[in-house]
Amino acid sequence: MDVLYGIPILGIIFQFLGYVIEVTPGIAPIVLGLSAPIALGAMCGIMNERSGIVNIGIEGMMLSGAFAGFLIAGLVHQAMGPVEGFGVFGITPALLAGVLAAIVVAMLLSALHAWLSITIATDQIISGVIINVAAIGLTGYLNRVLITPNPRLGAGTFSTFRIPQEVADFPVVGWIVEMFVEQGPIAMSVVILVIVLQVLLFRSRWGLRTRAVGEHPRAADTVGVNVIRLRYRNVIIAGIFAGLAGAYLTLEGTSSFQNQMTANRGYIALAAVIFGRWTPIGAFGAALLFAYSGAFGQAVRIRPPGVEYADLGPIMAAIPSQVYGALPYIVTIVILAGVVGRSIAPAAVGRPYVKESHA
């Protein structure tokens, strides 16, 4: 392949591919971890939008979940004292309580979103804004009141599953296994959740009804689907994903809570939904791509292309690291504008459903 490096442009492309193959094994497990909260947030978004509800409050639900998870896990840990972790993931009662708390809080916020957008028929974007502002305010406030005076609060994190070194060293297959399996429980479950949601959404009665409610609620109502009830149920259940995403941030990815630590992941999740054309597998792919883009940017900074990539080196050095971080957002705009392949939302998304009266 080195011969090809001499040809301009094509040479640079091959050098780029060579560099990608060089750095990828090192960052692959990190990428899946980084993509976990985005993918989970995207699942929340898909369940909402497929049912005809816009949800820009994913960010706030995630943040609240992260806070509640950290707080409850920390309090249980303090009450029980150190407990030996169980199994390969080092599961403790404190961590479990934390995950549960994160899910419950995110579901409560989802229920608020459902009530505002389905029953009150408030503008759904405003409802999302309310959830985001409330989450930033309440977590910031409670962080100062409850966690700051208690600096030793914390229950640690779930352990990462370790695969034998021989497996990891196996080329390509080893990297992929390492990427998906050398993870904590939440990140590892993402793949399963994505597949389950994909199958349910496109192969089950519930999925057909959900999609019908998102595309044409009146038609769904005519054939006997309870639009309001199904929307309520889906929006509230979708909160589980946002809660898990939050729990990942404070109980698996790191072991602390910082104000606004979701750092726009909820919005990237929204982008992943669009990029993945409202399908779970597509959104998961998008989340992986977005996370890879960010990690690749870091890799370039830490380990820039060496002398063997003579043409590529100066190009990579000239690209600011912020470009990789902003890439998901730019790509989403391009996709949404239909420049490369149109992505079209469920037709009834954003519109409250009012049953026709008999009068």
Partner: protein, 382 residues
Amino acid sequence: MTAIEAKRRAEAPLLRRLLRLAAVPAVAVLGALIVGAIIISLSSMASGPLDLMLPLQAYGNMFEGAFGSVRGILFTIASATPLILGGMAVGLAFKAGLFNIGAQGQFLMGGIGSAAVGAWMAGAPAIAAIPIAILSGALLGAAWGFIPGALKAWTGAHEVVTTIMLNTIAGAIIGYLVTGPLEAPGFGFSRTGVLGNSELPAFEGTTIHLGVLIAFALVPVVWWLLWRSTLGFEIRTVGANPDAARYAGMHPALITILTMSLCGLLAGLAGAGQILGISHFMTPSYGTSIGFDSISIALLGRANPFGIMAAALVFGAMRAGSGLMQIEAGIPVEIIDVIQALILLFLATDVVIRRLLRIRAESAEPDELQTVTKSYGSGSPT
């Protein structure tokens, strides 16, 4: 609303009309303060017994900080300034049936534009440096508003998603510029250069700079634009019903692009004012909550420039007074965000409130929001 009802409403005495308009926002603010008081009381239990007087003390300190002295009042006005411009950037979009979540990005682009040009013109005479620095900020903000407007008009990409994306892209651009090409040497941290003559003049020893005067002067201008000019009529028609507007020979696509650019201009102006008048330089991760604040203020002010001014003064007072509250009563400033969310919640549930209180007031939600959400799933050019 029937024609007779509209006529009767227009003929009602001004004061009663004002009362009817302000009823729901006032109840929302009051309700939010009451629920906020409950949260403050409950949180006192974290460090001792339940203190029922704590909210009164906290609100008292906040009021004192915002209005207790001339300095406080001036600080309130200065804090309200970017909120007025940001609120109008969101409110104007509402009138055209657009939801501008991008005030944050437009503010940041306005800020970096004026910081860069201001530093570049630091040595020029103030009479040239100041207008050019302000204008470049405003124009960069307008450009950042033009993008989602054009995308919506030409491709149907919904502005809610594109503006959210553009906010983060603006953040990344600023991060790059301030740590790269625009970084000024000789400081211990990354920042843009010294403004010199581009700094906005302020009244001696106060935070009342030229930008404050511009913001307040723009309130009647935007009101006139919306309610007395042909463009305003077209904006409101497109917002109420794009199809009817097209049928009447207007160009909804053009109006969409123009309105979003104007919104960007206003938000960019807010950024320019903050940088040239208050902080005097840009940092790589310039923190601001202007995006969500602007949405709250536009809704609280019913998308009317004068209403927005009043709402911005309320929020400005809370922000200005929160510092004293944190020092004296030990209540974290984040309670302001909680109260803000509660205000929005009360506004959003105004149907419930009006039924509960049996008040005959007008709905808080701008009618044009119907147009906003209807277009979310359609994805077709205007």
